[in-house]
């Protein structure tokens, strides 16, 4: 019956069973009240049908107890629905630690996807079963929305900043991907497929198919030299700029005394608006690369800098906050 006339999509992620259960909970509450009110209305309608022309109803003006009851009970139920939904959402908005990071760029009217080893896909995402996946997404033009109903997840893709979302695929298969924020003429055909494979198959696919072409690490490393980043960001920390070893995802101490986590957004901001946050002990010397790098190039550089996160930071010129550690 589900196959013939489905009422819900397949459950293919860690969120799907919870979301469906939450849905059923709310359905139960709604059905209860809908049936109760409908029954009451129909029952009263027949029981109190006017019997003769001059009949009037019994003037009952109200009842404080009833009013209190039907404010308090819905309020409690509402809070329950809110709380459960909030728990799921807070979990959803905080990506876990060790995720497989996939970069997604939305543009009119296609999805450009980049796997961790640089492999590019268009309107397709291949993923391994059972691993936490984080999508880091930006838009090149208008607002889009990356939506996979089988996973019960979606997130807007906004020009001007990154949005991230995470989930863990739990079942191999092929699932529909939609754009879920109206974005112009071909919004309806900005769709694709998410293919979830067993972990071994995924690894094979990743290295096999068109292997390491346009590997962002390599591209990023090349850019790092070509754009002269290397002339200041010495890895031994003795340059005019902090070493980037061990920086990614660690705390950075700023000149104004604040500390900040060097995540993707921080790296992007440092490239485009270097004077927004100055690392303690350094001068505001870095030029801005606004308008000189595409989103993909920024992603490549970020990949490269990320690859340095396990390199040992130099004793001085580390660019990280003293009591450093993963966030």
């Amino acid at each position: 019956m589900q196959a013939q006339f489905p009422l819900i999509p397949e459950q293919a992620s860690n969120f799907a069973p919870t979301v469906d259960l939450l849905m059923l909970f709310i359905v139960a509450i709604c059905v209860f009240f809908a049936v109760a009110i409908t029954f009451a209305v129909i029952y009263f309608f027949f029981k109190y049908e006017r019997k003769h022309q001059t009949e009037i109803g019994v003037p009952i003006h109200g009842d404080m107890l009833l009013e209190t009851a039907w404010i308090a009970v819905p309020l409690v139920l509402a809070m329950a629905m809110f709380a459960w939904g909030a728990v799921v959402y807070v979990d959803y908005r905080h990506s876990p630690g060790d995720t497989l990071d996939i970069y997604v760029v939305g543009k009119q009217w296609m999805w450009k996807v980049q796997q961790p080893n640089g492999l590019k896909e268009i309107n397709e995402v291949h993923l391994p079963v059972g691993r936490d996946v984080r999508l880091i997404m930006a838009s090149e033009d208008v607002i889009h929305d990356f939506s996979v109903p089988a996973f019960r997840v979606k997130m807007d893709v906004v020009p001007g900043h990154y949005n991230t979302m995470w989930f863990r695929p739990t079942k191999a298969g092929r699932y529909r991907l939609y754009c879920s924020q109206y974005c112009g003429t071909n919004h309806a055909i900005m769709t694709g497929w998410v293919t979830v494979m067993e972990q071994g198959d995924y690894a094979a696919w990743l290295s096999g198919a068109a292997g390491a072409e346009a590997n962002p690490l390599v591209a990023g490393q090349k850019l790092f030299a070509a754009r002269a980043c290397i002339t200041c960001h010495f890895s031994d920390g003795k340059g005019r700029a902090p070493s980037l070893n061990g920086v990614y995802d660690h705390q950075v101490l700023l000149a104004d005394g604040k500390t900040v986590t060097a995540d993707d957004a921080y790296i992007r901001e440092s490239i485009l608006q270097p004077n927004a946050k100055i690392v303690a002990g350094y001068q505001p010397l870095m030029p801005s690369f606004q308008g000189q790098l595409t989103e993909e190039q920024i992603i490549a550089l970020t990949s490269y800098i990320k690859s340095l996160q396990n390199e040992p930071p130099p004793p001085t010129g580390a660019g990280t906050a003293p009591a450093s550690g993963k966030k």
Binding site: Q273, N275, P284, P287, S288, Q290
Partner: protein, 243 residues
């Protein structure tokens, strides 16, 4: 057609008519607060993000002219309040006189705004294709004080170092400058129109101690427009002026 001062058909008493007019004007002013509010919200956010550019933009505004306009408007609120008082005590000539004074002051305000807007036009500070925040610094006119130009050049180079996108962000500032002062000026023009009507009615002797509702209501409107300027002036003119 009803002549001013008579009881309109839908009301029972003059008292009710006056109460309705007053409540109506206050409710209308509430809508105006929300109307300007959207712009103030946009201003707040953008100033938070782009403080440097807002400082630079603010410094291009002529503080003397802005200050003068502030004084003019406050004075005009005084003359408006005086005309309301005069109408309360039945002094017809004084009512008319104070209304005329208010109108003259309001027109002076608008005249100063025209001068300011022209300055912005000359310095390529109107948002659009020709917007260039450092146009004046690059192309000073013979009348410009060289020391001022030097100071501006230095300020700009510091600002550009902090914010490479200074031009774009300064354009945001000026969009808000023209948007907010333009909307305000539009309200002043409408106010001036209403003052003209009031002056005519006052000259015809329509306002008495028992009936001066239009003077009071338009007075309320005028005071509101004045208060909006009191907020606009520091927010637009007085950023980063402490040096």
């Amino acid at each position: 057609m009803h002549r001013t001062g008579e009881l309109y058909g839908q009301f029972e008493t003059l008292e009710q008519q006056k109460e309705s007019a007053a409540l109506g004007m206050w409710v209308f002013l509430a809508t105006e607060v929300l109307f300007f509010g959207g712009l103030f919200m946009t201003y707040t956010l953008n100033r938070h993000y782009y403080g440097t550019a807002f400082g630079v933009g603010s410094n291009t505004l002529d503080l003397k002219l802005g200050g003068l306009n502030t004084v003019i408007l406050i004075l005009s609120s005084l003359t408006m309040a005086m005309s309301v008082w005069a109408s309360h005590v039945g002094k017809r000539k004084a009512t008319t006189g104070f209304l005329v004074a208010t109108l003259i002051l309001g027109t002076a305000f608008l005249g100063v705004k025209v001068i300011e807007y022209k300055q912005k036009f000359d310095h390529h500070l109107i948002p659009g294709y020709h917007f260039q925040i450092d146009y004046r610094a690059q192309h000073p006119s013979p009348n410009d004080d060289p020391k001022e130009i030097e100071a501006e050049k230095e300020e700009l180079s510091k600002a550009f170092a902090k914010d490479p996108d200074l031009n774009a962000h300064a354009q945001l500032y000026f969009s808000l400058y023209f948007g907010m002062t333009g909307l305000h000026a539009l309200h002043m023009i409408v106010g001036a129109g209403m003052l003209l009507w009031l002056i005519r009615q006052s000259m015809l002797g329509r306002f008495t101690p028992t009936y001066n509702t239009p003077v009071e209501m338009i007075g309320l409107y005028w005071h509101f427009v004045d208060i909006v300027w009191i907020y606009l002036f520091p927010l637009l003119y007085l950023i980063d002026r402490h040096q």
